[in-house]
């Protein structure tokens, strides 16, 4: 027993040294090699292979002794950054997300303009979006690409059944139902959505579709400065039909399993981002033999077209407290602001470029030629922020949020009319309360008003 006690004590004494080996060891090894290590955090997975290769190439060849560590986070990048800021260990570079707006306002990121050469300014001027990345004359990140929401459909299935590519909501619903009815026996269904998380699924599908058809943004009418979810009703009815007669288990699907089933030819239609899908079906889930995908604009109810939101992506934020901003900027510009890299990125289908110099010289791949809808169109617009986005900390709606309400309605768990009326009421209550409390003034943008 003495022996055991002795062993216990020795192990106990060793733990600290063992334990610190994990975290601290890394830093010291990096320092001893004399390299300046720059940490970049991103959650982009679809083009990870592309950028990892470019980063490795840069790390191997650059003469400034810079090592960029390209770290891919999953869905928890937001929390990771929160924690990192809390302990003063935030990465030098982090991919922009709207969640980080609070840090931009807090002055935690670098204004890039003073560091940019005239050449770089000229290159990127087209993507300085007032109020988004360009705020009060300061530029915080450079979204070199863009992503829009589109309907992706399986051409093979559509051709086989002689279906037209849908342009209206009704046509889409009919196509979805037809596919399911005709091909269910083969395990092929008309429509699917990654509804495991209703907010993740619907913000990339139903929401932009409704925007395009109604001009509402997240239920908000910029003309009146109030919320109104009533125009969502026809869409929710259509969705309800499509999901309930669609691919089984949409409510427990993540996007990647959905894509793998789409690639296998089991799904007729789904909606997703233009920047990711072309690359996905080349690298992640090659389409099954004989299956071909197509891409078209989101079908709407009626013929009045409104703007549909698009996002500038990827953009990178630079930590103000980072010790090596110069090195970080150097590495960033050499890799991510490099026209050749950006062109290659675009040509290989890893993202849709927003940089004119890239678009003009790029060799459009067949994906883009066959599916012009992949590119940003004039009615893809950048909306101003709704109260819920702009004042996220204060704008707390109790109960089911809009996406989860929609999800429950689509699944038939909640009454359509009641659910929507209640939703409108709850959002407006918060909006009016915050206005009367003086948190903000009613947010109105006449140019985004619904007619």
């Amino acid at each position: 027993m003495k022996k055991i006690t002795a062993v216990l004590l020795i192990v106990l004494a060793l733990i600290p040294s063992l334990a610190f080996a994990g975290g601290a060891g890394e830093d010291s090894s990096a320092e001893s090699s004399g390299k300046t290590v720059i940490r970049l955090w991103t959650n982009d997975r679809h083009d990870a292979t592309f950028w990892t290769e470019k980063v490795e190439e840069y790390n191997a060849t650059n003469t400034d002794n810079i090592e960029l560590s390209y770290e891919i986070y999953t869905d928890n990048i937001w929390q990771a950054v929160d924690m990192a800021f809390q302990t003063g260990e935030a990465p030098d570079i982090v991919k922009y997300d709207m969640y980080f707006d609070k840090y931009i306002l807090d002055g935690r990121f670098v204004d890039l303009l003073p560091y940019m050469t005239d050449e770089q300014k000229e290159l990127t001027e087209a993507v300085w979006y007032e109020g988004q990345n360009y705020i009060d004359g300061k530029l915080y990140f450079i979204p070199t690409g863009n992503t829009c929401l589109r309907l992706f459909y399986n051409k093979t299935i559509f051709d086989r059944l002689g279906l037209e590519v849908p342009e209206t909501l009704d046509e889409m619903v009919n196509a979805a139902v037809t596919i399911t009815n005709e091909l269910k026996g083969e395990g092929i269904y008309g429509f699917a959505c990654n509804l495991k998380s209703a907010s993740n699924g619907l913000k990339r599908s139903l929401e932009p579709q409704v925007e395009r058809g109604t001009g509402l943004r997240l239920g908000y009418d910029f003309g009146t400065g109030t919320y109104d979810f009533t125009p969502y009703i026809p869409y929710l009815e259509g969705w309800s039909t499509m999901i309930q007669q669609g691919f089984p288990g949409s409510e427990s699907l993540d996007i990647d399993p959905l894509r793998s089933q789409f690639a296998a030819g089991k799904i007729g239609m789904y909606m997703s981002y233009t920047h990711a899908e072309p690359g996905v079906y080349v690298n992640q889930f090659p389409m099954a033999e004989g299956q071909e995908w197509g891409c078209t604009y989101l079908p709407i109810d009626g013929d009045q077209l409104y703007g549909q939101y698009f996002t500038g992506t990827p953009g990178f934020l630079f930590n103000k407290d980072g010790e090596n901003f110069d090195a970080a900027w150097k590495a960033y510009t050499a890799i991510f602001l490099n026209v050749d890299n950006l062109r290659e990125h675009f040509e290989q289908g890893f993202g849709i470029s927003s940089i004119p110099a890239v678009l003009e010289t790029a060799d459009m791949g067949s994906d883009y030629v066959n599916n012009p809808a992949l590119l940003k169109a004039d009615d893809d617009v950048m909306y101003p922020k709704t109260p819920e986005e702009e004042y996220a900390q204060d704008f707390i709606v109790e109960g089911l949020d809009m996406y989860n309400t929609f999800g429950a309605i689509i699944a038939g768990q909640l009454d359509l009319e009641d659910g929507i009326a209640d939703l409108t009421k709850r959002y407006n209550e918060v909006n009016e309360r915050l206005i009367s409390q003086g948190v903000y003034e009613r947010i109105i943008y006449p140019e985004f008003a619904r007619n």
Partner: protein, 284 residues
């Protein structure tokens, strides 16, 4: 009663017992066998269905898991964390259990009632964030040590368990030792500690298992220091990795990698696992 009928009864009982036991065994073992066999299959076999056994044994799933997902490092982390938690849990619960059972000291009432109060409170997920705050205040949030300490935690249940066990040891033993001139510490470490072995074995097994399998705490703490991820966290996160949906086979290989070490330990020490737990539960 006739011997015949007793025999028949016993026969019927045995038949039912065996059927029940076998069904339960199939139920418990199936997912594990599925995982391990699945880790040798191709992705197509898994997602499109195939035979129970892999059509060919694809060992490369494992090399893929090790090479592309850094599992060697996470495996080491898991071992360090598991052993560290085990040792610290055994050490801290034995001393605390002893003190609570044997000593009267200033503040005992307060401290003991705090332990007693918290043992009944199911805190759930609220502890995660403050735990992280403590670690970052102490600047150990980036190291395995921080993870180990957080996983050891207060050990309230185990302390009470050990304390109850100490009570069953006659006080004459320590009194005799002290009369013999043993210091208080020697009395504990040389007389009492060895006698605690059965209950400490339970504490050890429990805490190792908990640490090895823990997901939430390890996940939250390693969110921004990926290098201290444990195997469990790494495996679960594969679900969100670049190729998750296309690589069920690699994911199952990962799951197997996290299962197999503890499985091997179990195969060699299953009697100790079960008997240890039994002995502990009885005497505790």
């Amino acid at each position: 009663m006739k011997i015949e009928s007793i025999k028949t009864r016993r026969y019927i009982f045995l038949t039912i017992a065996y059927i029940f036991a076998i069904v339960m065994c199939l139920f418990t073992v199936y997912p594990i066998v599925y995982t391990i066999l699945g880790s040798f299959k191709t992705n197509a076999e898994l997602t499109q269905g195939g035979s129970f056994l892999p059509s060919a044994w694809h060992f490369e799933n494992y090399s893929k898991a090790f090479m592309e997902n850094d599992f060697l490092r996470y495996g080491m982390n898991s071992i360090i964390v598991g052993v560290g938690v085990l040792v610290l849990a055994v050490f801290t619960t034995s001393t605390a259990g002893y003190v609570f059972s044997r000593k009267s000291f200033i503040g005992k009432k307060l401290i003991f009632s705090l332990y007693g109060a918290l043992v009944f409170i199911a805190m759930g997920s609220v502890t995660l964030y403050p735990t992280y705050t403590v670690l970052s205040t102490l600047h150990i949030n980036k190291s395995l040590l921080g993870l180990i300490l957080a996983l050891v935690g207060g050990q309230i249940t185990n302390v009470l368990l050990v304390s109850g066990f100490v009570t069953t040891i006659p006080t004459e033993l320590d009194e005799a030792a002290i009369i013999d001139g043993c210091s208080q510490y020697r009395t504990f470490f040389q007389i009492i500690f060895p006698l605690l072995r059965p209950i400490l074995a339970v504490v050890a097994l429990f805490s190792f298992r908990t640490a090895w399998n823990d997901y939430l705490t390890s996940f939250i703490i390693s969110i921004f220091t990926p290098s201290i991820k444990t195997l469990t966290v790494a495996v679960v996160q594969m679900k969100y990795s670049i190729n998750a949906a296309a690589e069920w086979h690699v994911m199952l290989a990962g799951a197997s990698i996290s299962i197999i070490p503890i499985l091997i330990l179990y195969i060699f020490a299953h009697k100790q696992f079960i008997n240890g737990l039994t002995a502990g539960a009885v005497k505790g």
